[in-house]
């Protein structure tokens, strides 16, 4: 009898603990930015805050685009190892060289990244305001645009918003044209810029000659790995890998395909 009473007591205790945990979780979710500030978890600098907020999404978008030939939702693609790989040069007929499908690949990828992070950018800017208000700043964030640019070794997201933080006599301005050092920007180390340059060269070869020689690129760029996999329908998958950093870019091509027989 005593054992039973003890048991029911334990259950009640567990239920109370569970309710407390759930309550805390709800509170944590509702006041997350303020809690972060209170515990000193958020970066003190707006630039670092944005970097911290956006980096993962930027990384995920870059990875997805790299595996899909530079498009978030490829329309003309080849399914390869569960990835929809976009054709960057395509010819439906046999024997003929391909037609370039993405002649402005860099611009296209920049646009795609911009689209992919749009929602998160909005969230991050909102959180930025809330976080610094929670720290006791008077926050003024102007409307602005953001740009994505692929540069050697990095992907840069730069913001044209001007953020003014005021606390008593102290006033800090970020994003002003007068002070480029304090421009709000997010940087991601990624070699996609270099890899798409190689991809463009391969596409040029494919559209002119119907094939490309992978070893030429590996001879010239010592840390580059170029793989070419021919498929049954005459398509080819190219996988470009930076051996040091591990960054990848893969795309499909169908050029001078040969049918079975004649």
């Amino acid at each position: 009898m005593k054992l039973l009473r003890n048991k029911s007591g334990q259950i009640t205790l567990f239920i109370i603990i569970a309710l407390v945990i759930v309550g805390l979780a709800v509170l944590f979710y509702l006041f997350f930015p303020k809690i972060q500030v209170a515990f000193g978890l958020t970066p003190k600098n707006p630039q670092a805050f944005m970097q911290n907020c956006l980096e993962d999404d930027l990384q995920n978008s870059a990875n997805k685009l790299s595996l899909q030939g530079g498009s978030l939702e490829p329309q003309l693609y080849l399914l390869y190892e569960s990835n929809k790989i976009e054709y960057l040069c395509y010819q439906e007929e046999y024997y003929l060289p391909c037609i370039v499908q993405q002649p402005m690949l860099k611009t296209h990828i920049e646009k795609e990244i911009k689209t992919a992070v749009r929602e998160k950018v909005g969230e991050c800017l909102d959180d930025l305001e809330k976080t610094f208000e929670a720290r006791g700043y008077s926050v003024s964030l102007s409307n602005g645009e953001y740009q994505v640019e692929l540069l050697p070794g990095i992907i840069e997201v730069s913001f044209s918003n001007v953020l003014t933080l005021t606390q008593g006599e102290e006033r800090e301005v970020y994003g002003s044209a007068d002070n480029p050092q304090k421009k709000i920007r997010v940087l991601l180390h990624n070699n996609i810029y270099e890899l798409i340059s190689i991809a463009n060269s391969i596409i040029n070869w494919e559209s002119n000659y119907g094939d490309s020689e992978t070893t030429i690129y590996m001879n010239y760029y010592h840390d580059l790995k170029v793989e070419k996999y021919k498929q049954g329908d005459g398509s080819k998958i190219y996988i470009l890998t930076d051996r040091i950093k591990g960054d990848k870019f893969q795309f499909a091509v169908r050029s001078v395909a040969w049918p079975p027989g004649i």
Binding site: L76, Y90, I99, N200, T214, M218, K225, W258, G261
Partner: protein
């Protein structure tokens, strides 16, 4: 002499039922290859007519269906010749019943990215302009903005457009020299020269310190130096660790790998690079004083892979600087944590040098073996890794390999078998500059399958050669050599004519999509191996039958000869697949049939 029987043989076999061939009783022998089995046997002439009509019909249908130029297809491809139903006509996208080359909207041209200064050839106008590019029609001449010239950037060179050169300058914050007089890439790369390097000595925090810079860099540093500029001095050819410079930089036992360089470098105590790592000279004061060229460093001209004492790695000889790893490197460097990593590969127990490429096959018997589904591969060894590049399916490409001093180079190249069947002489057939064919003396082919050889429209690359043209119209259809049972009134005579000639067949038999119910080439090609033989018997005085004509057709060797032709045509006859398994059927059949006079007359 009576003509008792006619022997008809169509297609051949290895595992032939020998009992059937021991034709003591008269009969008609028919061998039939799998893809055409009963169809051809039953209505041989009808088949010919039907097949030609069928092919013609298909060709016409094909011509009609592929004659539209879709600005965009439903599948999303820009500027493709495709059937009308494949074209996307929404959002004002255009279609035209002509080839894309002939349309205004799908002409190919140069797409210029003015921001990057790059050009992409063979781009349609709309695709280019949608993404903000500037399109110029390809008139055979390169537009001025796309002309490549030499851009010297630092100690490197790039063969790029003028705008690209400026862009590179801004991207890498380096001065560039655009040499429009250099119009050749090789010359451009050769003209790249590095600026002289040396110790740039200056004062910092009351200490004399140093950086290893080029003369220009040191000059620039001096101009921006906040202290007394006279205290910034450049010492050409000296290392920062040189004792006579009296800087706070000294020798260490540390090494470093540098991006863009292959060698392992020593590092001084200020973090500046010194000479190439050489364990024997690490305590040598001279080696820490002056800059030594790569050619004057240890082990020059050798790979130095896995060397624990020398860091003069050479990528082209098979090594490059990497951080030492127990699992990857055979020796631990005597000093520092970096080593010349040996980039060679091991594959199936065999060692391959970095940069070697070689051939392999998925076929059980190896490269060149005739098996269904067999494919060649090129294997590539770079940076310790072997990557596999498949050649084209259906044996449309072959892997060729050559070895020079034990270093192998391989490539997938086209299997040029397509016009073998229309070659009429051994010389043309075995002209290896033009095609991959072999001549089989005494062999003959049946139906030329003219449709399959000539119905490919404008895109068919093999439309006959000069020799073919001189052979008249027959050369297109192959009648000159195929002749045979479909061609004339006296089929046996045609066979007889061909018997002493020969047939031109693929050296590397191609694969066919024989499983394709919608008209693959297997049936038409394999049927070329169909064959018949009329065997004549005479009754002896004792009433026994005695073979008097074409008696060799009753021998096993006749079957073997025909099989040789059959398997050379492609995926025909008695073959196994690439894993060594035989098909569900024999791949051919034979029939013996008694001569029927009315049959002969109907043929005629």
């Amino acid at each position: 002499m009576n003509v008792n029987e006619i022997g008809k043989k169509m297609k051949m076999k290895k595992r032939f039922n020998r009992d059937k061939l021991n034709a003591k009783s008269s009969g008609l022998i028919i061998l039939t290859a799998l893809p055409v089995l009963l169809f051809i046997i039953l209505t041989i002439f009808t088949l010919t007519i039907l097949s030609i009509n069928l092919i013609t019909a298909q060709t016409e249908a094909s011509a009609v269906s592929t004659s539209y130029c879709c600005e965009k297809t439903i599948s999303g491809a820009w500027c493709q010749n495709a059937p009308k139903e494949s074209c996307d006509e929404t959002n004002g996208l255009r279609i035209n019943p002509s080839s894309c080359e002939a349309t205004s909207y799908c002409k190919k041209g140069y797409c210029y990215d003015s921001k990057e200064g790059t050009c992409m050839e063979n781009a349609p106008q709309k695709v280019c302009e949608l993404e903000g590019g500037t399109w110029t029609e390809d008139t055979g001449e390169t537009p001025p903005q796309c002309e490549l010239r030499c851009c010297l950037i630092g100690d490197q060179a790039a063969f790029v457009t003028p705008v690209r050169c400026k862009k590179l300058s801004s991207l890498y914050s380096l001065e560039t020299d655009f040499r429009s007089d250099i119009t050749n890439e090789v010359q451009c790369i050769a003209s790249a020269s590095s600026d002289v390097k040396g110790a740039c000595v200056f004062e910092e925090n009351f200490e004399t310190t140093c950086r290893l810079l080029t003369k220009k860099e040191c000059q620039s540093f001096k101009e921006n130096y906040e202290g007394n500029q006279t205290k910034v001095n450049f010492h050409e050819g000296f290392l920062c660790s040189a004792e006579e410079l009296a800087t706070n930089c000294g020798p260490t036992e540390e090494t470093k790998c540098i991006e863009g360089k292959d060698e392992v470098y020593l590092v001084d105590s200020c973090g500046n690079l010194a000479n190439v790592y050489d364990a024997d000279r690490i305590k040598d004061t001279n080696y820490w004083t002056k800059i030594y060229d790569k050619v004057d460093s240890c082990g020059y001209g050798k790979s130095n892979g896995d060397s624990k004492s020398c860091g003069n790695c050479d990528y082209y000889l098979g090594s490059t600087c990497r951080a030492y790893e127990v699992s990857k490197d055979k020796a631990r460097p005597s000093y520092g944590d970096n080593i010349c990593r040996n980039l060679a590969c091991e594959y199936n127990g065999q060692k391959y040098e970095h940069g070697e490429t070689w051939c392999a096959s998925n076929t059980k018997g190896g490269i060149g073996k005739e098996s269904v589904g067999g494919k060649d591969f090129r294997l590539v060894c770079y940076n310790n890794e072997v990557s596999v590049e498949p050649c084209a399916e259906f044996k449309q490409q072959l892997c060729l390999q050559s070895d020079v001093n034990g270093f192998s180079s391989a490539a997938c190249r086209q299997n040029i078998w397509q016009d073998c069947f229309v070659q009429t002489t051994q010389g043309d057939c075995e002209n290896s500059d033009k095609r991959d064919c072999k001549w089989i003396e005494g062999a003959s082919l049946a139906n030329p399958q003219e449709g399959s050889l000539s119905n490919q429209g404008t895109t068919q690359p093999f439309k006959g050669t000069e020799e073919d043209k001189t052979a008249g119209t027959n050369s297109i259809t192959g009648q000159a050599i195929f002749g045979g049972i479909f061609g004339g009134d006296d089929s046996s005579k045609d066979n007889e004519d061909n018997k002493n000639k020969g047939a031109c067949l693929p050296l590397f038999p191609p694969g066919y999509d024989f499983w394709n119910p919608n008209g693959g080439d297997a049936e038409s090609f394999c049927s070329m191996a169909d064959s018949q033989c009329i065997v004549k018997y005479q009754k002896t005085a004792l009433g026994e039958k005695e073979c008097i004509e074409n008696c060799e057709c009753l021998d096993d060797s006749w079957i073997d000869d025909k099989m040789e032709v059959c398997v050379a045509i492609g995926d025909c006859g008695d073959k196994v697949n690439f894993v060594g398994k035989a098909g569900y059927d024999e791949g051919y059949s034979t029939k013996l049939k008694k001569y029927e006079p009315e049959e002969t007359s109907s043929k005629k």
